[in-house]
Amino acid sequence: MDYDLIVNILYATVRTGTPLILVALGELVCEKSGVLNLGQEGMMLMGAVIGFIAALETGNLWLGVTFAMTAGLLMSLLFGFISLNLSANQVATGLALTIFGAGLSAFVGSDYVGTPLEGIQPWHIPLLSDIPFVGRILFSHDPLVYLSFGLFVGVYLFLNRSHAGLALKAVGESPQSAKATGLPVFKIRYLAVMFGGAMAGLAGAYLSLAYTPLWAENMTAGRGWIALALVVFASWKAERVLLGAYLFGAFSIMHLVAQGLGFSVSPNLLAIMPYLATIVVLVMLSSDKARVKLYAPVSLGKPFHPAD
């Protein structure tokens, strides 16, 4: 393989991994607080459609991004109300949210299918994008990709280096003890759910405003589900979420490149490679079963009754 090809594969890897990173980081924070929200796909779709409509109607792409995040956030509030206020089953509520989001986004966006939009353009960072190899791979993307880098650093520091992150994890491990120490369990969980929603909305906006600027029904094509799996296989660690998302992106690209190069492997087999490779690597990383158990938030998915 020549130099250009490798650079381009890695460049495309970053782009393919970006929507997964955004939605998975949001879900990671949400799950760390002990709340399992399976509604990622629905929130992403709502973000994608609302972001697209807002950008088209106002002519401002960044307003579109803001609306997308708000849409994801509002969807997550719905989830929060049902699963946290009413203590409904989180799995069922999340699934319902996905179905609801898919249907609602199709309904809302029906007049916008097929409308063209000049999307968010790549922004070559001066100096940094001139660095050979790395410059092209990391610093000649659209601004949402850079935002994903920043959000990763932010989430990583929040979870591992901040008091607020510690409080969030405490709530995810044992809401009862957290409450006993005076932490506002309910409020923290709500904030975590909202963050997850906004991030899913942002991931949707990345697809409909930057990656392929258009709106079409179900255009997320299952990326919300992949992100959910990533969080589990990354054993709830931000750096592994990042690694997993890029790994998945890399293998998705390889699946296409290999065919172009004339490898005579079944495309169906190649198509499952990203899933397989990502799972295998992440499982190897967290092969110590006892430790994995420690990583999973203990109270994940269990409703918390403040009165308990």
């Binding site: 007049d111 097929g114 392929t212 029904e217 172009g260 004339g262 005579s264 495309p267």
Partner: protein
């Protein structure tokens, strides 16, 4: 807010009006009843692709026949138990003719047709028929052959990229027909295929197109449903062909043309035959000659002599003087599959599972 309320009130008024009209039409038996035609769609009508092309035809029929026809449609109907329920509902509510427009509706259509022998059914892209169930499809491969001719004349690198969905006969037939057209004017050109294992994933289709461009393709064709490949071509400054409907909105410089379905004349014909009382169950497979297949407007970047050539070839296909799969047709090894002077049969085309000469790589089984 006020405006919103008003429009809601208007909607109610409209709905009430429709209900009243329905009631009245049920009451009056004297006037000539319009033929009632139902449509079942797999996607939303706003879709720029497959379902959009069918709904355009429904509107065309209404325009042409005026109050002689009354159409209803149900969109986004999943290919399963839902489909059967919807089809039955349409049959029950007095439709004389029902178009079911997706491959997965085949068995549900037949099942309902048995229970409603007086209702006529037309199923798109299927192969099972009954006394009151006909089938229809278009020869989109004829349009693809023409895009191949354009590609052969426009390529500089002699490598054409093709974004495929799944290696089924319908898609392979398109790749082969395209390659036949391509090689008929440019024997040096080759086609590289990348399968994305999905009918609809704009982001993945875009990546596939970019990968092909990276590997030397300067024209992209596709057999997937989204404009992702067009967007990629536009961004990279190469040419591309759309599919299903005109996709030039997504890249006006890149979009050379698109092989499109034009169901209008087909549907008009079927509805008319029901009105005239001479409908029979047939297997309709029409192409350029019947107008069922067409090309979107050609990009002005295409030189005039090429436009002329395409027009000539199109005319020859319409007149039956040219067939995309007329012998000698060679497979990848150079072995002759259709001898000179012969034309591939419809049956062979419908089960096509090998690449013609000029396609690179192995066809996955």
């Amino acid at each position: 807010m006020k405006q919103e309320k008003k429009s809601l009130a208007q909607r109610f008024a409209k709905a009430a009006g429709v209900a009243l009209a329905l009631f009245m039409s049920a009451q009056s038996v004297t006037a000539a009843e319009p033929v009632k035609v139902g449509f079942v769609y797999v996607g939303p009508t706003g879709d720029a692709g497959w379902t959009y092309s069918h709904d355009k035809a429904r509107k065309y029929v209404e325009e042409q026949l005026g109050d002689k026809v009354k159409t209803t449609y149900v969109e986004s109907v999943a290919e399963g138990a839902d489909a059967e329920r919807v089809i039955r509902q349409l049959a029950k509510s007095g439709n004389d003719l029902i178009f079911t427009t997706s491959f997965g509706y085949m068995n549900p259509t037949l099942k309902v047709a048995k229970q409603f022998p007086k209702v006529k059914f037309e199923h798109a892209s299927g192969y099972k028929r009954a006394k009151n169930v006909g089938t229809y499809f278009d020869r989109i491969y004829e349009g693809r052959y023409l895009t191949g001719v354009i590609a052969g004349k426009m390529t500089k690198s002699n490598v054409i990229g093709y974004v495929g969905s799944f290696p089924i006969p319908e898609v392979v037939r398109g790749i082969d027909a395209f390659t036949q057209g391509l090689r008929s004017v440019n024997p040096k050109a080759v086609v590289k295929v990348v399968w994305v294992s999905s009918w609809y994933d704009p982001a993945k289709e875009r990546e596939a197109a970019e990968t092909l461009i990276l590997q030397g393709a300067d024209i992209i064709n596709q057999h997937t449903d989204s404009p992702g490949p067009i967007q990629a071509a536009q961004a990279k400054g190469v040419y591309a062909f759309g599919y299903h409907s005109d996709m030039s909105l997504y890249g006006k410089d890149a979009h050379l043309t698109a092989a499109t379905h034009n169901w209008g004349p087909v549907y008009l014909d079927k509805v008319k035959s029901v009105i005239d009382g001479n409908w029979t169950s047939t297997d309709f497979w029409g192409g350029l000659a019947t107008g069922a297949t067409a090309l979107a407007p050609l990009n002005s970047a295409i030189p005039e002599d090429v436009v002329k050539l395409v027009e000539e070839r199109k005319q020859a296909i319409i007149e039956g003087k040219l067939h995309p799969f007329q012998g000698p047709v060679k497979d990848q090894t150079g072995a002759i599959k259709v001898p000179a002077g012969q034309v591939m049969s419809d049956e062979d085309m419908l089960s096509l599972n090998w690449y013609v000469e000029g396609v690179e790589g192995e066809l996955p089984k």
